[in-house]
Symmetry: C2
Subunit: 428 residues, 2 copies
């Protein structure tokens, strides 16, 4: 067992620092080129959806159950087979499903843009015209959610994550007292990057919020709903708690097949109240005649149903799980006893959240970069890239090969340790 | 040869009116259900793209020329093969091509929204913040362009069409003197609905405009560039006149394969200056990781090149041309000599523009509707649905079968004539 860095004497730290510096220089001169920044599937994972290419191979498969030829214009809400499938997958009614194009990010951006430009519904003032529209951002979180807020200049308020969802005491107090707080971004299952899943009590409290803003909206990005690779984790269906209540229109849920079939060539979905769907469609009808219904049909034929999807996801899990285990093993080997790092060991999703010694995230990032290891930018997991303790790193084990992953973890560990010894020696 | 309605005596008109009224009642009691409102391809046309389904059938076809696996995230500007193909089709460089998703309407809406929200480029004020942003709308024109302006509450200024494009004296004077005029929508080839193609002189004058607004933008919707079915009509490439000039950034061109392969399941494109592409991508990168590159690849494999595309379009032409000829023949039979109708006989596109007796468009629409014939709403081809003479009807011959089309034209003719006699009798 290694000694805790904070318990080391100056001499011990100096010796360790010299040793790490030498290891680091050896890495630099060996000329590596590795990448732990890409939250995207590996080639091996893409190959598990090979069947999608031939799932739809003729016009005869393009007639919907109501007789609609999906090769032609129409059906803005999506073809009924796709609405039925996603209704089943998300546990809502088909009337609550709007099947979109290739990107749930686009659906979130566009939903947000509609709030800004047109408000949340008829007779609601647009968020732009109301002036400040602040957004709650459980942090660390998904950088692309924060980018949407920056794009529209909506101030972000970070909210603490507890390990089972956002700190609801904080959320309840904030939304109850400030009518300019208009929304919150959430990733309820295998949250990016912490991997935590909101527990039932947290989801119930979210569903029962009493926001001062009557046009408060929750962007419920359920990207990883079927993306288990460890123990299957259940997440409560928030609509079970909002349906028929005053908060019926409060939640926009998003889902996509990007990490089920092919990233950026799949099918995205918004699930929400009928009133929200109707309002969205009113504006979408100006923007589009329909989403790609042939690709919707192709996915329906390939995915079939929830049971078949779960079997399919096991193939992804079989590839992902060993990679996550490898990273976790390497982290244990490198950090156990040092007291300079903690990390999440999620049961699904795409990320490991690594917390290192405070105020060393940027140094670590720069050391990695100079050595040829690309990692997600320090601070990227926080609004405005401001990690209050400058310690969080998002690790993406999915894309690299096992061999590269092992090497990358070794390099990362040396950089994390070197940054920690430098920091400790400076501080003294 | 029929007698001109305006030259008829009151007795003649009354007799004709009674006769038409009887014909109309016979139609109503026969219980038809026909549709001339749908500017979409027929099933027969969809079948000519059957090969698209099997064009891409395995992962081995998903590696781009630079080695990028298009099944995965990335390449927001589009895969290079698709950029090369569309650059060739549109006569621009691949760096000026942004390949999008399934809808050029969405690309236009989004480009317009970016102008409204973020301005036309770096250090340009958004149109929203500048207050009034007026848009020139050559009319009659495409109702979905007008809908975008209504969506964003940008006042529309109708501009007269000459038969070879907008009245450029009017356009030049308007844009030179009013800095709040920010843009113009154009369909340069087989304009919707008049079918006219802008001539070279008009396009040159558009390219050489001197707008008072330094952030003036032209939305150049080249939807029908390859959609000839009569004599092939050439249209000048506007970028030949803007490239290297002060107006280099003035034009956004749009194109799509919706009426080449499958409507709403094809590939859309924006062509514009490098500076405009970069600015668009900066904002699009917040909205999307990439468009559907697998569908881009599928289309590249199927369309191959300009030569092959032209051969493919001949198959559409062979189906469309007889339908347009049938409508024109029926219109000649019904209206020659009456002086109550003129219509366009385009060489391509999807529409016939029918001008009937002034102030009878709404009556005609209602008569058709009550008889079971659906036509595009009266006024739909003008901003705010305000046809100044209430005489223009957009006829879409593509979707109906020949048999239905023939019957629909007969019904339409009776309604047009009946409305004209009613009007003439009222006026006297």
């Amino acid at each position: 067992m290694a000694k805790k860095y904070v318990d080391m004497s100056k001499e011990e730290l100096t010796g360790l620092n010299s040793e790490l510096q030498k290891q680091y220089e050896d890495i630099v001169s060996s000329g590596i080129s590795l990448d732990l920044s890409r939250g995207k599937p590996s080639k091996e994972q893409l190959d598990v959806s090979e069947g999608l290419f031939s799932a739809l191979s003729s016009s005869s498969q393009c007639v919907s159950s109501t007789g609609f030829d999906v090769r032609n214009y129409g059906l803005l809400q999506g073809v009924e087979e796709a609405r039925n499938l996603f209704a089943d997958l998300l546990g809502v009614d088909p009337e609550n499903i709007l099947v979109g194009g290739n990107s749930s990010l686009t659906m979130q951006y566009d939903a947000f843009a509609r709030c800004m430009l047109f408000g949340v519904g008829e007779h609601r003032m647009s968020w732009i015209r109301q002036g400040d529209a602040k957004i709650l951002c459980p942090s660390p979180g998904y950088d692309r959610h924060f980018a949407i807020c920056e794009e529209f200049r909506t101030p972000m308020i970070p909210v603490r994550l507890t390990g089972h969802g956002p700190d609801m005491d904080q959320v309840e107090e904030l939304v109850a007292n400030d009518p300019t707080i208009k929304g919150m971004f959430c990733v309820p299952k295998y949250s990016n990057p912490t991997g935590e899943t909101y527990d039932e009590k947290t989801i119930r409290r979210i569903a029962e919020l009493n926001p001062a803003a009557k046009d408060f909206r929750i962007f419920w990005d359920n990207a990883y709903l079927y993306h288990d690779f460890g123990k299957v984790t259940d997440v409560a269906n928030i609509f079970d708690y909002t349906k028929g209540t005053k908060n019926e229109d409060m939640v926009y849920e998003f889902f996509s097949t990007s990490k089920i079939t092919f990233p950026g060539s799949g099918v995205a979905v918004m699930a929400t109240s009928k009133a929200n769907i109707d309002f969205a469609m009113k504006h979408m009808s100006v923007q589009s005649i329909n989403s790609d219904k042939i690709n919707q049909m192709r996915h329906v034929i390939f995915i079939k149903n929830a049971e078949n999807l779960k079997e399919h996801m096991k193939k992804h899990a079989a590839i992902l799980k060993p990679k996550f285990e490898l990273v976790e093993q390497k982290f244990h080997e490198a950090f156990d006893g040092t007291g300079i790092a903690t990390w999440t060991e999620p049961n699904g999703g795409y990320f490991i959240s690594l917390d290192i010694f405070p105020n060393t995230a940027k140094t670590t990032f720069n050391l990695c970069k100079a050595a040829g290891l690309k990692i997600t930018g320090a601070g990227a997991t926080f609004p405005y890239k401001k990690d209050p303790e400058s310690k969080n790193l998002r690790i993406c084990p999915s894309y690299a090969s096992a061999e590269d992953l092992e090497k990358a973890c070794e390099v990362l560990a040396v950089c994390v340790k070197l940054a920690a010894t430098r920091r400790l020696l400076e501080v003294e």
